[in-house]
């Protein structure tokens, strides 16, 4: 989906400040959000790609205001509601009760976990199909746009690059996130000249990104 999460190349953010003494978790709730996020795929009967898609689906306003672990908290709730583990509004109602508000909690929903079983642990898969593209070959990132999950960011769509490496084959996030199918594919490191992406006036550098085979066409 073309959401707020797809930040590559967007402008107006200001500068970046490094805090060398930053703790791993700034607040105890961040540590809890991390742990629940790490457990979210198992709790919801889904997978890591579904988790990323649930983060992408946080409202753009909340995405920015909540910050990284706030988004993890939000995505866990989204995943558990999607799978019928928690009722919509259950977390909010419980939180309001915890702070003394007299609100009714929703009834437990009917479990609706997806019919999903991974074929192996993790995201890497062995596949027999020959790779469509070779190292050194010119390719173009497709200019598609989808309302579902994808790992093809807007800033490379429609642009031409060169395959620099064949990476391990992996489940396709676009279908895996929705628990439709693993659709394992070849994955390529594709290098783009910065001026192909941003125009002749920009800084010269090479941008390399991992792209799944179905994201690419011959250039």
């Amino acid at each position: 989906m073309d959401g707020i999460h797809d930040m590559g190349g967007t402008q107006g953010w200001g500068t970046v400040v490094i805090d060398p003494d930053e703790p791993v978790f700034a607040e105890p709730w961040e540590a809890k959000a991390f742990a629940f996020g790490a457990l979210s795929a198992r709790l919801s009967g889904t997978n890591l790609d579904a988790m990323r898609h649930a983060i992408d689906r946080q409202h753009p306003h909340d995405y920015l205001v909540d910050g990284y672990y706030g988004r993890w908290l939000g995505c866990v709730e989204t995943m558990l509601v999607d799978s019928g583990v928690l009722a919509p509004g259950a977390v909010e109602a419980r939180a309001r009760r915890l702070r003394g508000e007299d609100v009714e909690e929703p009834a437990e929903p009917i479990l609706s976990k997806p019919d999903y079983q991974p074929t192996a642990a993790g995201s890497l898969r062995e596949i027999d199909d020959p790779a469509r593209f070779a190292v050194g070959e010119a390719v173009r990132a497709r200019s598609w746009s989808s309302s579902g999950h994808t790992r093809l960011p807007r800033y490379v769509r429609g642009h031409a690059g060169v395959v620099t490496a064949l990476l391990p084959s992996q489940v396709l996030p676009d279908t895996h996130a929705h628990c439709i199918a693993e659709n394992a594919q070849h994955v390529y490191a594709v290098a783009f000249d910065s001026r192909e992406l941003w125009g002749e006036g920009g800084e010269p550098f090479v941008l390399t990104i991992s792209l799944y085979e179905s994201y690419l066409e011959p250039a």
Binding site: W13, R99, G122
Partner: protein, 201 residues
């Protein structure tokens, strides 16, 4: 499900985390020991000290460095470093001529087994947005000025492949042991937004 922005009086994250925990606990869906174990592991055990050991070994053992650049995941696993967000790690080497820097523009993917959880700056929208568009300018703002003759290579972590930067060994460290070298290596250098400084003598 269409997302809606939340009302202004939405309970804050600390309260929502507590609410979520209480709901999961009363349903028997989480084990508090597992939750604490995960938190302790990433708060205390898995962090950039892992990566620093890898870098120091590569600086002192040419055979190890060759293995690391050839098959990063396996060479890193020689230290016992593996796990989530480290299924396939590619190691790229900074030299006087080429500078590598790593980002995840779509979320904040990061090589956990060698660096732990990502720092705030790595997750900052400004970093995710700008490092793929004006890396030289942004790196300078972050304190790393690169000469015009240095080629910049930016790696966007869009699949399950993770990138780890082998920084340049600073001059004047010929007599240091592997352990002493590891103590010099910083997290930021292993992502590519800093250099490893020579020890102050």
């Amino acid at each position: 499900m269409t997302a809606e922005p939340h009302p202004h009086d939405r309970p804050g994250p600390a309260l929502r985390a507590e609410a979520l925990e209480s709901l999961l606990l009363e349903r028997g869906l989480i084990d508090p020991k597992v939750v604490e174990g995960l938190i302790n592991r990433y708060a205390n055990d898995v962090g950039p000290l892992n990566g620093a050991k890898v870098v120091a070994r590569a600086w002192t053992d040419p055979d190890y460095k060759a293995r690391l650049l050839d098959e990063g995941t396996a060479a890193i696993a020689e230290f016992g470093f593996s796990g989530p967000q480290g299924e396939h790690i590619v190691v790229v080497e900074n030299t006087p001529d080429v500078h590598h820097v790593v980002v995840c523009t779509l979320c904040s993917c990061y090589p956990w087994p060698v660096l732990g959880l990502p720092p705030a700056w790595y997750k900052d929208p400004a970093y995710r947005a700008r490092i793929v568009r004006e890396p030289r300018t942004l790196l300078a703002e972050m304190g790393l000025t690169l000469g015009d003759d240095v080629e910049i290579k930016v790696w966007d972590s869009s699949s399950e492949v993770r990138y780890f930067v082998l920084p340049e060994r600073p001059a004047g460290t010929e007599d240091l042991s592997e352990e002493e070298l590891a103590a010099l290596v910083t997290r930021d250098a292993m992502v590519g937004v800093g250099r490893v400084a020579a020890p102050v003598t």
